[in-house]
């Protein structure tokens, strides 16, 4: 592109850049600024306290508990989402029948609102009349308290895995679609097993799609809010807060008028930092030679 053409592109880029600056970068910088203050959000003046909110985070047990919950979703949930997603991909790329129907079925949870899913899962987990305990009862196993303080996060993560797997499997399958069938056929003629085909043909050729899906999962898992919030009931107890929920409850109070906007903003900043670390680490780990088809 010559110099003149580049200049001509500027006015076309300006609307998007302007809107991005005003509605995203500006508020983000303002959030960072608020995090350096003690502020309830009720007054015009904010009390500058420097890095005190960040120091408070270090000694705040509820923050670290919520951070642990966030990491459980991000890493624990992520491993299963992609293991199951890759399993689907391996099977679906081998020309199994009713491929389109299976794709539609595994994607189905994504078209239901997470809040509705949370309510349904709550019923499934009920101790007295829930689906899972009814099944256990049928086979003579005593009931499990799925939503007890010790189990509730694991139960929530299991539900999160269930409703996310289809979405990420579809992304991976879209990568598989661009691989010419001739490659699979050639591998089969050579006598390669399903696993070998997946490892040596499918996975290397969808590596770029896989890395994007993992990063997308990371961002979504760190900011996950709606499902967990609804799963916790009318006012979720602190044992099942992730950092996004903790940040919301501190800043906007839910039904308890806390309104610590400064501290809440500091927590939001830590979430952004975690996203950056995840994205940068992810890109480094997934950096490989891209095979051109």
């Amino acid at each position: 592109m010559d110099k003149e053409k580049r200049k001509l592109a500027i006015p076309y880029l300006l609307p998007a850049v302007g809107l991005y600056l005003i509605f995203f970068i500006g508020p983000a910088i303002y959030g960072l600024w608020i995090s350096l203050h003690s502020w309830s959000g009720f007054t015009k003046e904010m009390d500058f306290i420097g890095l005190k909110n960040y120091a408070k985070i270090l000694g705040d047990p509820i923050y670290w508990q919520s951070f642990k919950n966030m990491m459980l979703i991000l890493l624990g949930g992520g491993v299963f989402v992609f293991l199951i997603g890759l399993l689907f991909t391996a099977l679906m790329s081998q020309g199994i029948p009713a491929k389109k129907a299976i794709r539609a079925i595994i994607f189905f949870p994504q078209i239901v609102a997470p809040i509705a899913l949370a309510i349904v899962w709550n019923y499934l987990y009920r101790f007295d009349t829930g689906f899972f305990n009814s099944l256990l009862d049928l086979v003579g196993i005593s009931a499990v308290n799925w939503t007890s303080p010790k189990n509730i996060m694991i139960s929530a993560v299991a539900a999160i895995i269930w409703y996310n797997t289809g979405f990420y499997a579809i992304i991976l399958l879209s990568g598989v679609d661009k691989i010419p069938n001739t490659l699979f056929e050639a591998a089969k003629i050579e006598g390669a097993s399903t696993f070998t085909i997946f490892r040596t043909v499918t996975l290397p050729l969808i590596w770029d799609v896989f890395s994007i899906a993992v990063i997308l999962w990371g961002i979504n898992a760190i900011r996950l809010f709606d499902f967990l919030f609804a799963f916790g009931g009318p006012e979720p107890p602190s044992r099942m807060w992730n950092t996004a929920m903790y940040q919301y409850i501190l800043g906007f109070g839910q039904r308890t008028p806390i309104y610590e906007l400064g501290y809440s903003s500091a927590i939001a900043v830590t979430m952004v930092v975690v996203v950056f670390i995840f994205v940068i680490t992810g890109r480094k780990l997934f950096q490989r030679e891209v095979y051109e088809l």
Binding site: P15, I22, R126, N145, T147, S148, S238, G253
Partner: protein
């Protein structure tokens, strides 16, 4: 060409900024003012959701008021329980706040009154209630109107009373020859008797931490009196927790856990599972707010007779056991409201003919002194009317120390009620964490 591109870019950027500024500016509303049609508009954001009985009652009042006052329009939005967050944000934004909103007294004080985002409604107290000739302040049950008064100013106009106590099915008690207990020892005996008969004495939806907190809060009220929890929470040294009454209260919760009084799986019970099971007869008693009868009536059997008894007296305590909890729901006028218009509407709304709906349609106790309680809440109204003193729900902790309440007290209280920590550990932790909490502020 270069000049043209540059000029075009500058004009475009200015245009975007102009549009963005226009978007961010509150376009304002005709809240509380006379619009083009000359009508006064009262903007009302309510805590109720469409379809709830209270929403229907209040909508009826609004319709009647607009019919009698054709020059006034009430622009109502049913926002749900988190309405005050929206009111607060709108108040900070300038002229977007409503003229009228409603919520519980503790939330109103914590969110709006403490932050000076409300208008006093003092003139309303001496206004006449239409069609009745009575003065506004004279129609309320004693102390309810003044309960949230700040100095000489009245901001909060309560229209519904909630209180808490132990709820039970009289038919079940009669079937097993059990009388409602009045002291802690009797309560423990009742629990043991029920357990022997294979009935779980207590229902508890463990995922609602503020329901779990009813036990410890009521025990401290009974052992040490009103505001004892508030005092300990506000003590920055944490030393107040070492007073023996706090440990005694925790020991009594330990006693309930050790006796296995709570229904199986209560730690993980997701609201409303336990209260529904209670209404179906799977458990005998539930410590909860007076809303429990209206929330569970569709699940209860035909012979279910809703009764309630106050939190038992602690024999060793010298505190009067006839103190009652007042958890009031009421109206408030946020800062910048058209106070005259709001007061006129509230005087109209407090007419007996409209407040009857709170009793008959919503199944709650009205703040009007000339209305009976619904049959299911007769016991609870008796507790209120016969009380020597009142205290606010949870000792006002939600309004005064909301962050401590949510991040220090409730998690520890859950651990105690679930049997994960002992009473001694509970007190030790409260002492340490309260001190740390205040050091971090």
């Amino acid at each position: 060409m270069r000049k043209k591109v540059g000029l075009f870019s500058v004009i475009l950027l200015i245009s975007i900024l102009f549009v963005a500024t226009a978007c961010s500016k509150n376009t304002g509303s005709d809240s509380g003012s006379s619009g083009d049609s000359g009508k006064t508009v009262i903007k009302y954001w309510s805590m109720w959701n469409t379809g709830e009985p209270q929403q229907e009652v209040i909508q009826g009042i609004i319709d009647a008021y607009e019919e009698e006052n054709p020059d006034v329009t009430i622009d109502v939005q049913w926002m749900g329980r988190q309405v005050l967050s929206d009111v607060r944000n709108a108040s900070l934004g300038g002229d977007g706040a409503p003229d009228l909103t409603d919520q519980s007294g503790a939330e109103v004080v914590g969110t709006l009154v403490k932050n000076e985002l409300v208008e006093p409604l003092n003139d309303l107290l001496t206004m006449e209630i239409p069609n009745e000739g009575a003065t506004f302040q004279d129609v309320f049950i004693d102390d309810t109107l003044s309960f949230y008064q700040q100095d000489e100013d009245t901001y909060f106009i309560p229209y519904e009373i909630i209180t808490s106590g132990f709820h039970y099915n009289e038919s079940l008690f009669n079937e097993h020859g059990i009388d409602a207990p009045s002291t802690w020892d009797e309560f423990i005996e009742v629990g043991k008797k029920l357990k022997d008969k294979g009935i779980a004495p207590l229902a508890q939806d463990g995922n609602i931490d503020f329901y779990n907190a009813y036990y410890y809060y009521w025990l401290t009220e009974r052992i040490m009196g009103a505001e004892s929890l508030l005092k300990a929470a506000g003590d920055e040294t944490g030393e107040t927790w070492s007073e023996p009454g706090y440990l005694e209260a925790a020991k009594k919760i330990e006693e309930l856990v050790d006796n296995d009084f709570f229904a199986d799986g209560y730690e993980g019970s997701q609201y409303p599972a336990a209260q529904t099971a209670w209404a179906k007869g799977d458990s005998a008693m539930i410590l909860n707010g007076s809303w429990i009868s209206s929330e569970t009536s569709e699940y209860s059997s035909d012979d279910f007779i809703y009764r309630a008894f106050p939190f038992p007296e602690i024999e060793s305590s010298e505190v009067d056991s006839d103190q009652a909890e007042l958890y009031l729901i009421g109206w408030v006028a946020p800062e910048g409201s058209n106070v005259d218009a709001v007061q006129d509407f509230l005087a109209f709304a407090m007419q007996k003919q409209y407040q009857e709906g709170i009793v008959t349609e919503t199944g709650n106790i009205s703040t009007r002194n000339d209305l009976d309680a619904p049959e299911k809440l007769t016991d609870l109204k008796e507790m209120i009317v016969n009380a020597s003193t009142y205290h606010a729900e949870y000792d006002r902790l939600q309004a005064e120390y909301p962050e401590w309440w949510k991040t220090v007290f409730l998690p520890l209280d859950d651990s105690l009620l679930f049997g994960d920590i002992t009473a001694d550990e509970f007190i030790d932790q409260l002492q340490v964490q309260t001190k740390e909490f205040w050091e971090n502020q």
